[in-house]
């Protein structure tokens, strides 16, 4: 399988990437690691006229620690996140989840920015950054803006990014409570999560329980009012709209969500 013809442009800076995308118009796509975009292009589900390769913009792969937050460049690969000492110490949820994505070859190429901008409901990192209350920084022709993680995912493969706008950085506040857990259920190695759960302190977010990642608000409310893990987890499927598919009917995903949230909350509380 070969992608439909396109024009390849390589950017060496964020400004150049935004300029190249603006020149190319609405049918331009940014290429980071390519491990979300390229499979879609090979299946001809995505047919961009211009591909702007941002993979060599070194300034976008930095992981930094500020006073109250961490900054993660959009080009940080899953492998880089998984091996980062800074993240292992300060954001183990992100490091751990990144280390469970795909396989080593995929982690060597795939990036956090690519995964978030692609917005696959079965992807792990969107739910992780929801649980971490991240802010996403995007640069477009009209400047830089910040988007809260909760406002970023609009639908299936749809985000708040405008055409020509490039996700450049993810800012994550230092967690106030130490407990965390990441759980995902797959049938085979390297499969996408049938359901996944990311927990950081009182925040609980779900993978693949609807067309976007979603905070398990019923669980969070139950925890806030003093319920224990099992009782709170019983509310995991509230407000969700998981798909029926080859992996099972909606009820199966709802059941998995309750089981995985219970495990995640227990593991998280054991880590506090």
């Amino acid at each position: 399988m070969i992608p439909a013809p396109f024009t390849y442009r390589r950017a060496s800076s964020v400004d150049e990437a935004v300029d190249l995308a603006a020149q190319a118009g609405e049918d331009a796509k940014f290429l980071a690691g390519g491990h979300s975009l390229m499979p879609l292009m090979k299946l001809r589900l995505a047919v961009p006229e211009t591909v702007v390769d941002i993979g060599r913009i070194g300034e976008l792969s930095q992981i930094g620690e500020g006073h109250g937050h961490f900054t993660i460049g959009a080009l940080a690969t899953h492998d880089l996140l998984a091996r980062s000492g800074v993240l292992a110490a300060g954001l183990p949820l992100l490091a751990n989840a990144a280390g469970q994505i795909g396989d080593p070859q995929v982690r060597h190429c795939g990036t956090i920015g690519g995964s978030l901008a692609h917005a696959d409901p079965a992807a792990d990192l969107p739910a992780v950054i929801m649980a971490l209350d991240a802010t996403l920084v995007a640069r477009g022709p009209s400047g830089t803006r910040e988007i809260a993680a909760g406002d970023f995912f609009l639908g299936l493969f749809e985000t708040a990014l405008q055409p020509g706008e490039l996700l450049t950085e993810i800012r994550i506040p230092k967690p106030k409570s130490a407990g965390w857990s990441f759980q995902k259920f797959t049938k085979r190695a390297i499969d996408w999560a049938i359901v996944g759960v990311a927990v950081q302190g009182p925040n609980v977010a779900l993978v693949n329980m609807g067309s976007t990642p979603i905070r398990a608000s019923g669980v969070e409310q139950a925890l806030a009012s003093g319920s224990g893990p099992r009782e709170a987890a019983a509310r995991a499927a509230e407000g969700t709209s998981p798909a029926d598919d080859l992996n099972g009917p909606r009820q199966y995903r709802e059941h998995l969500a309750r089981v995985l949230v219970a495990r995640a909350l227990e593991e998280s509380s054991a880590r506090t």
Binding site: I2, M38, P39, V106
Partner: protein, 156 residues
């Protein structure tokens, strides 16, 4: 566009279509056909090569992304035709292959693993090879081969 890739230590330059995948560049332009196209969907790992020393699935990387970088295929692992890399030697000694189709990818994924982790446990080997499928299901001997290669390379 013109793409120049250092393949197994030698520069390979060619004018190719922008959409050319790295695996096709290696097979059709560089003439190195050990790297196989298996699933073509970044699942099976048969097309695994090293890009700047780290394993990637070359069916999901554009040749343009490898422009100016170094690629190692299984042909480039050893010095000559009569010489085997320790990982290749271990695959032969431990019968780490049956039909052989997945073998180039398995070997390259194993070389990448041992570069990152020279003394993996059996569990770590199995996890590191999760992106490489063997349709003959010959996994036990493949894992044995990687462990044997690791112990051979360890200073005694």
């Amino acid at each position: 566009m013109k793409v120049t890739v250092t393949v197994n230590g030698s520069e390979v330059a060619a004018e190719v279509a922008d959409r050319t995948l790295l695996v096709h560049f290696l097979r059709d332009v560089a003439g190195l056909t050990a790297t196989n196209v298996g699933c073509d969907t970044s699942s099976c790992g048969a097309c695994t090569v090293l890009l700047d020393g780290r394993s990637v699935k070359s069916c999901t990387v554009l040749a343009a992304q490898a422009d100016g970088r170094a690629v190692t295929t299984v042909e480039g692992l050893s010095g000559g035709a009569d010489e085997l890399h320790p990982v290749q030697r271990a695959f032969r000694a431990e019968h780490g292959l049956q039909c052989g189709f997945c073998t180039p990818g398995m070997v390259m994924a194993s070389v990448s693993l041992l570069a990152e982790n020279p003394s993996p446990t059996e569990d770590e080997v199995r996890s590191a090879l999760e992106g490489n499928l063997c349709r003959c299901t010959g996994y036990h001997n493949i894992v044995r081969a990687v462990l044997a290669a690791a112990s051979e390379r360890r200073p005694r």
